[in-house]
């Protein structure tokens, strides 16, 4: 592991603390992605608090972007709604500040690079950290382009979470693991975000391959929406990340209150499966 990563790992955020608790209880964590500002930042605040109440361990706040190349139709539409409502990165950081007054849940800002770049890396990091964010995940940034980004985020004690994909070679997995702090996010399949019925057969092997390169907790996301998928992943990963399934609940709900209730119900269902699933340490993997 690189010197940079080792040093960064000594700073523990709410993310690391939460994963330690989960490890102790042998429970699969639930990472909940919500597009911030869909349909308004006020609604997102209510929805996030309901998600936390229902058992979400980490909240990923999606920063809407005009050109979300890694996202499927559900999150594309959510981003469009959020942008139509005037959501900006600065507004999302203000939302973190508002949430921090009410909850101690770990919060990751999940963004494409350009909005962060336009705010300026230093301005973004200091404002996000001051607001109470714990980590940053940039969808279209890989370790190769992330030198300055990592240095600045580390200075502000923000975890840098990177994505690993089924196409990532061992060499790339090592690079990604070394650049990541907080947790490692494994994309379950080649493709964009969006709920799917099944899990790819190669997924367990992919997670095992990643574990060779990191002792960080591993979250698996993209295409996860069902309790049965969560149960299976209980034996494999440390957390599941759920996004489009929650965003779809918000899209179809007829009011903010109903959106918050629907998201909470979905999380309870998944969390229930996570608690009953086989914990990684019990499984003979």
């Amino acid at each position: 592991m690189s010197e940079l990563a080792t040093e960064a790992n000594t700073v523990q955020t709410r993310i690391g603390r939460r994963f330690e608790q989960l490890a102790r209880s042998g429970e699969l964590g639930l990472v909940a992605y919500i597009t911030a500002g869909d349909p308004s930042l006020g609604a997102t605040e209510k929805i996030v608090l309901a998600a936390v109440e229902a058992g979400a361990d980490v909240i990923e706040l999606g920063v809407p972007f005009s050109d979300p190349v890694a996202d499927g139709p559900t999150i594309q539409r959510a981003s469009e709604r959020a942008l139509r409502g005037g959501t900006t990165l600065a507004g999302v950081i203000d939302l973190v500040k508002a949430l921090r007054k009410k909850t101690d849940v770990a919060i990751v800002l999940f963004s494409y690079f350009n909005p962060i770049l336009q705010m300026g890396l230093e301005a973004f990091a200091s404002r996000a950290a001051e607001a109470g964010a714990d980590g940053v995940l940039v969808t279209d940034m890989t370790p190769e382009e992330a030198g300055e980004h990592r240095t600045i985020m580390r200075t502000h004690k923000l975890d840098t979470i990177f994505l690993a994909a089924p196409t990532s070679t061992d060499q790339r997995l090592k690079l990604i693991a070394d650049a990541s702090t907080g947790f490692l996010y494994i994309i379950s399949r080649t493709g964009v975000t969006g709920a799917k019925e099944s899990l790819p057969e190669e997924l367990p092997a992919m997670v095992r391959r990643a574990r060779k390169f990191t002792s960080l907790p591993i979250a698996v996301g993209f295409g996860i929406s069902l309790p049965t998928q969560v149960t299976v992943l209980g034996g494999i990963a440390d957390a599941v990340a759920v996004g489009s399934a929650l965003v779809a609940e918000i899209e179809t709900a007829t009011s903010e209150v109903l959106a918050a209730t629907a998201v909470a119900q979905r999380i309870r269902l998944l969390k229930n499966a996570a608690q009953r699933g086989i914990s990684r340490r019990d499984a003979s993997l």
Partner: protein
């Protein structure tokens, strides 16, 4: 005089500060694979031979460098030569790159290609090459572009390609690229993304430039034969910028050859009204360096980093970012970038049609319009090469509204 410019991009795909590789992780290994395959192919004489044969016997290269005697006389300025890429099979320079990448895809064992298209010229060229090489082909096209370039949609379907309309965002080229990238990320094991311009993540900007550089190589030899000296000026339109870089590339070390890239000035200088990314000095607003679709370059965007909509009568120039090498050439002052509005471009189409018997594409007409502005003030011993990057057949429905 000759000043050797440093070789770009560097190993990380950078043209100075611009370029790079900003993509979801799933695409990193495929991009590395593509870069390796391209480097191997480039060093392989049999690949070059096959490409040269296709360029000559399928696409119709070399294209003429025609002395435009009547246009020269009409404008009363420099001696004007036209590089006739409009005479290529499928009607534009796009086929140069499609043949290169198509052969590369086949060499890599990919059975399927996906592409984006704006004006439809790249889509048609991709569909054509896919048919010739026996590859499956899917083309993404904004629904607004499908409407204004209906004939090209029909041509692609006739060639056996699947054309999928994209209804997101501004329903133009940018949105088609987003959707093509989503397809690629999903089908990465079987599919090659045949990107049509000097855009996207490394190695695309360098690879597409190399495949298009045949334009400038030919033009250089042709002008030396005709005039026994290098040209004073090169003019080309710039959407992503592949025809321009294709013409410029072989002249970059020749300090005395001045280069002008012409962007779409649309219907005004305000953000959303144009597609001028590098012509800020001419008063066009909204462009700043940023990251879009895999590369760091000038992007038309809002203050908080959302990519803005663009307008141009020409679908092929209607795009908010520009190839990273152009950003680099602009910063260094090696090439000059300016913009021409819709109406002037349409006037230029009419002029070339009536004076030279050539109907240029609306895209190419932007470069011509800029030359028409400048020519009367230029000396008669000056030599100009204008790249007629494509023919205007596809634009008849649009032109019918104006002419």
């Amino acid at each position: 005089m000759s000043t050797k410019m440093e070789a770009v991009p560097d190993a990380r795909g950078r043209f100075g500060a611009y370029g790079g590789r900003y993509v979801p992780e799933t695409l990193m290994a495929p991009l590395e694979e593509l870069e390796r395959a391209y480097n191997e192919a480039r060093a392989d004489a049999s690949f070059q031979k096959e490409l040269d044969d296709m360029l000559r016997n399928f696409a119709g290269r070399p294209t003429p460098l025609q002395f435009a005697s009547r246009l020269t006389q009409h404008l009363g300025g420099p001696r004007i030569y036209l590089k006739r890429e409009d005479l290529l099979h499928t009607g534009a320079h796009k086929i140069n790159n499609c043949l290169g990448q198509g052969l590369l895809a086949a060499r890599m064992g990919k059975r399927r290609v996906v592409a984006e298209t704006g004006a439809g010229q790249h889509g048609v060229a991709t569909a054509t090459v896919a048919a010739r090489l026996g590859l499956e082909c899917t083309v993404y096209m904004g629904t607004e572009d499908m409407e204004r370039q209906r004939l090209n949609v029909f041509r692609m379907r006739l060639l056996g390609a699947e054309v999928i309309g994209v209804d997101a965002g501004s329903k133009t080229l940018k949105d088609a690229i987003n959707e093509a990238m989503r397809d690629w990320v999903t089908n990465v094991h079987t599919t090659h993304y045949l990107l049509g311009s000097v855009l996207g993540a490394h190695p695309y900007p360098a690879m597409v430039r190399d495949f298009q550089s045949v334009i400038g190589k030919e033009a250089r030899a042709q002008i030396l034969q005709a005039e026994k000296r290098l040209p004073d000026w090169l003019f080309a339109c710039v959407g992503g910028g592949s025809n321009a870089i294709g013409l410029f590339n072989d002249f970059l070390d020749d300090d005395d050859v001045k280069m002008v890239g012409v962007e779409a000035g649309g219907r005004g200088a305000g953000i959303g009204e144009h597609a001028a990314r590098l012509a800020a000095a001419k008063g066009f607003s909204g462009a700043k360096p940023g990251v879009l679709q895999g590369t760091y370059t000038y992007v038309l965007q809002t203050l908080d980093g959302q990519v803005s909509t663009t307008h141009s009568v020409s679908a092929g120039l209607d795009y908010p970012a520009v190839g990273p090498e152009h950003a680099w050439l602009a910063d260094r002052g090696r090439a000059e970038y300016t913009a021409v509005g819709d109406e002037d471009a349409i006037e230029a189409v009419k002029t070339l049609a009536r004076i030279e018997g050539i109907i240029p594409a609306l895209e190419s007409a932007h470069a011509l319009a800029e030359l028409m502005h400048r020519a009367p003030k230029m000396k008669s011993d000056q030599l100009v090469i204008l790249n007629v990057s494509g023919r205007g057949d596809k634009d008849m429905e649009i032109l019918a509204r104006y002419v």
